[in-house]
């Protein structure tokens, strides 16, 4: 059990949740996630721990409301008790490599932050490239700036930083400054795929963090399996971080769509119900 201490909207669709769960906070390492279940009829979803405070006994989750469960999560009020299990997954391998480029796209910035922070603490030179569709969707800028030596922003619409994709910025960075010692990329699968394609000819070690479908998060269901070279791995226990040059991204993207119809239906039903309730409330007042 964990108790919701506070929640805060940090961007359209993005909410920061601070949860009290001391044993998890104490054990959390960068790169790990928790399984969250918000009520008896709910589904278990994996969410990366964006930050933790061992002394306060809290963990922070930054969640984009894209499906039924994450939308419903937005309705939780401080004091709510939810089920949280973790910290799960293999922590990031943190060491001093030299220059480390941290690339975050959209919701991927949240899981990127604790890794960038850990790599910074290991005395790496951190160059962060953060991208989003538009300015307000480039989240956690302040936090990322605090753990980065250099910042590059990109937006699809040019409303902030340079217009274009994170891969454009990476390409220019490699051309102008030579190859960095490491690249860590977290974001939509398609973004990670193109980052990995770009670094492959330069042989730059590239780490990606995968978000696949899971139920238990402890290696029991195998729903999260991913192709890694000639092997099959479980994202929940072998990952979530893998060598980006080995990941079969096309398979990952297909598998992510397993329940696309059901997800759509659940979200539509939730939005309808929610809208009805909101309208009833409006009539009363």
């Amino acid at each position: 059990m964990a108790t919701l201490i506070s929640k805060e909207t940090i961007a359209p669709q993005f909410t920061r949740y601070v949860l009290e769960c001391e044993p998890i906070a104490r054990k959390h390492r960068a790169g790990q996630f928790v399984m969250v279940l918000i009520h008896d009829h709910g589904e278990r979803i994996p969410l990366t721990i964006a930050d933790s405070d061992a002394e306060a006994g809290t963990i922070t989750l930054v969640v984009q409301a894209v499906g039924k469960t994450t939308m419903e999560m937005e309705l939780l009020e401080p004091g709510a008790e939810i089920q949280v299990a973790g910290p799960l997954g293999t922590p990031t391998h943190v060491e001093r490599v030299g220059t480390c480029v941290c690339i975050g796209g959209g919701a991927g910035i949240a899981p990127l932050y604790p890794i960038a922070k850990a790599m910074k603490n290991a005395e790496n030179h951190i160059i962060s490239i953060l991208g989003g569709r538009t300015k307000e969707l480039v989240i956690m800028r302040e936090e990322m700036e605090a753990v980065s030596d250099e910042m590059i922003y990109t937006t699809d619409d040019g409303s902030f930083g340079r217009k274009g994709l994170v891969t454009h910025a990476l390409n220019d960075l490699i051309e102008e400054r030579g190859k960095p010692d490491m690249v860590i990329a977290i974001g939509p699968a398609i973004m990670m795929k193109f980052v990995a394609e770009m670094t492959r000819p330069h042989e730059i070690p590239t780490i990606v963090s995968l978000n696949s479908i899971m139920i238990d998060g402890t290696g029991m269901c195998g729903g999260c399996r991913v192709g890694l070279g000639t092997e099959t791995k479980f994202v929940c226990v072998d990952g979530p971080e893998f060598d980006g040059h080995k990941v079969d991204f096309d398979l990952l993207m297909k598998r992510q769509r397993t329940f696309v119809e059901q997800e759509e239906e659940a979200r539509r039903r939730f939005e309808e119900q929610h809208r009805c309730r909101a309208m009833e409330g409006a009539e009363v007042s």
């Binding site: 059990m1 044993p23 998890i24 054990k27 399984m35 279940l37 009829h41 709910g42 589904e43 278990r44 039924k68 469960t69 089920q83 949280v84 299990a85 973790g86 910290p87 799960l88 139920i215 238990d216 402890t218 290696g219 029991m220 269901c221 195998g222 729903g223 399996r225 192709g227 099959t232 226990v237 398979l251 297909k254 598998r255 769509r257 397993t258 329940f259 059901q262 997800e263 239906e265 659940a266 039903r269």
Partner: protein
């Protein structure tokens, strides 16, 4: 008092069949299939027991229930007394009466079975246990005086529950750590409602709580704390590892990662634990293929086949590389599956899963097998028949070919001796592992086996742990943990 019959008369009574839901009806519901004996049926079935002077059945029971003694009480209609006898050695009879492979245990060695059908011991056990569930007197085992020792149990499956019950009865403080959000392990995520109603598991777990056992869900040991930390920082005097066989095996054939290929664990967990059959009332979706192939023929495979049928699949196919005779499933499950219309393809093994450009399963290519020489397991080895390959159109493939040990605990416990399959090496008598104070039992030791064997191991381990704690006390003269 029931009329006492002569042995010859008793043998004339035919074994009572188990009343069951009609196969056509039950194919579309999740209610329990086997309905249980009435008191009259049970008392008459009990007459069939010959009360052997040297009964074999007790030895055939992994937990050594005094079977003739409880059956006599059933015959006389003293059901509460019968329950008391069972509960002396088996804390979870309502579960065992339903899921034990009795035909390989007590009933296999029943003397009546030499010439006739054996006494239906399992059905009688279930009958007696159900009396309690439906409002009979609850016989709580008397607990010994508190010892003050703390024992941590990792995993709330059959091994953990049995171990916890025994330890609590011995007066130790017991905490069970469960990784999932509900306790029960395979009894909850794996075995379907129609075979083992979840209310029964919940009832037994509530009983444990009444005995003072604390259950902490969402605690993934190996991650939130290691075994060593449980002992050195969390204050536990001993630890029992009962983490089961939770790691799904896949076949390693081409196409296995297509959408629509899933492990039995995933399929059953979505349905049983997460109630996926009630989507969208419950949020977890489950794939329901129009044509489904399940690979394997053990109890888990039967559960998958029959679950798929109940979810509305039109055609459900079992692919097994040996024959019906070698099928490891419990006979009753196999018969029930046959009655429900499962298409069994014996001596058939998949060689490739076929899919389309979107990555969705479209079929499975299989090869026919024949039985050759016996292998290490004593069963005749299936050998592929060259040129016998053919394709079956399916849109879902469920792999039910076995599970291995989940490594989350074993890999984070330094100094814990494992065998080459990753199972924990434990002493056969005490279930002690290579680390003092750490015990293990159930599937994590034996590899995937049965509920009752896991419970038997949990009980043994409880005695081993009790012995370890007593020695610990003797080592510190005059100091019981309670006095500290």
């Amino acid at each position: 008092m029931a009329e006492k019959l002569k042995p010859a008369e008793r043998l004339k009574i035919p074994r009572h069949p188990m009343p069951a839901q009609d196969p056509v009806e039950r194919r579309s519901n999740f209610s329990e299939v086997a309905l249980g004996y009435t008191p009259e049926m049970a008392m008459e079935e009990a007459q069939r027991c010959l009360e052997c002077k040297k009964p074999h059945c007790i030895d055939g029971c992994p937990v050594g229930i005094d079977i003739p003694a409880f059956i006599v009480e059933v015959r006389e209609g003293r059901f509460d007394k019968a329950l008391e006898i069972i509960k002396q050695t088996n804390t979870l009879p309502a579960i065992c009466g339903r899921v034990c492979p009795q035909e390989d245990q007590c009933e296999q060695v029943c003397v009546v079975g030499n010439k006739y059908k054996p006494v239906a011991i399992g059905r009688l056990e279930r009958f007696v246990a159900d009396i309690e569930l439906t409002g009979g007197t609850v016989s709580m085992p008397a607990a010994a005086e508190k010892t003050g020792y703390k024992v941590a149990i990792i995993g709330s499956g059959p091994a953990g529950l049995a171990c916890a019950a025994e330890l609590a009865r011995m007066g130790h403080d017991v905490t069970i750590f469960e990784a999932l959000h509900k306790p029960g392990g395979v009894l909850v995520y794996g075995i379907p409602e129609f075979r083992l109603p979840k209310s029964i598991v919940q009832y037994e777990i509530d009983n444990l709580k009444k005995m003072g056992v604390e259950i902490r869900c969402n605690y993934v040991i190996g991650k939130i704390a290691t075994v060593r930390e449980l002992m050195e920082e969390w204050g536990y005097d001993a630890v029992f590892i009962g983490t089961g066989a939770g790691l799904p095996y896949f076949m390693g054939i081409p196409g296995e990662n297509y959408i629509g290929v899933l492990s039995a664990n995933e399929f059953l967990t979505r349905v049983n634990l997460m109630k996926g059959y009630n989507f969208p009332e419950y949020d977890t979706p489950v794939q329901v293929g129009r044509r489904v192939a399940v690979v394997g023929s053990g109890n888990v495979a039967m559960d998958c086949l029959r679950t798929a049928m109940r979810l509305g699949s039109e055609h459900v196919i079992c692919l097994y590389r040996r024959t019906r005779a070698e099928s490891p499933a419990r006979l009753e499950e196999l018969e029930h599956a046959e009655e429900e219309g499962i298409d069994f393809r014996w001596l058939t093994s998949p060689v490739e899963v076929l899919g389309n450009d979107d990555g969705m399963v479209t079929g499975v290519r299989v090869i026919k097998m024949e039985l050759g020489e016996p292998d290490a397991s004593g069963r005749r080895r299936p050998v592929p028949i060259e040129g016998s390959e053919y394709e079956i159109e399916v849109d879902e493939v469920i792999m039910a070919i076995g599970q291995g040990p989940n490594p989350l605990v074993t890999q984070t416990t330094e100094g814990l001796e494992l065998n080459r399959w990753g199972n924990i090496v434990a002493d056969e008598e005490t279930m002690a592992t290579s680390i003092p104070g750490v015990f293990a039992g159930g599937d994590i030791v034996t590899g995937a086996a049965t509920v009752i064997l896991a419970m038997g191991a949990g009980k043994k381990a409880a005695c081993g742990i009790d012995g370890f704690l007593r020695k610990k006390r003797e080592a510190v003269p005059g100091a019981s943990a309670a006095a500290v």
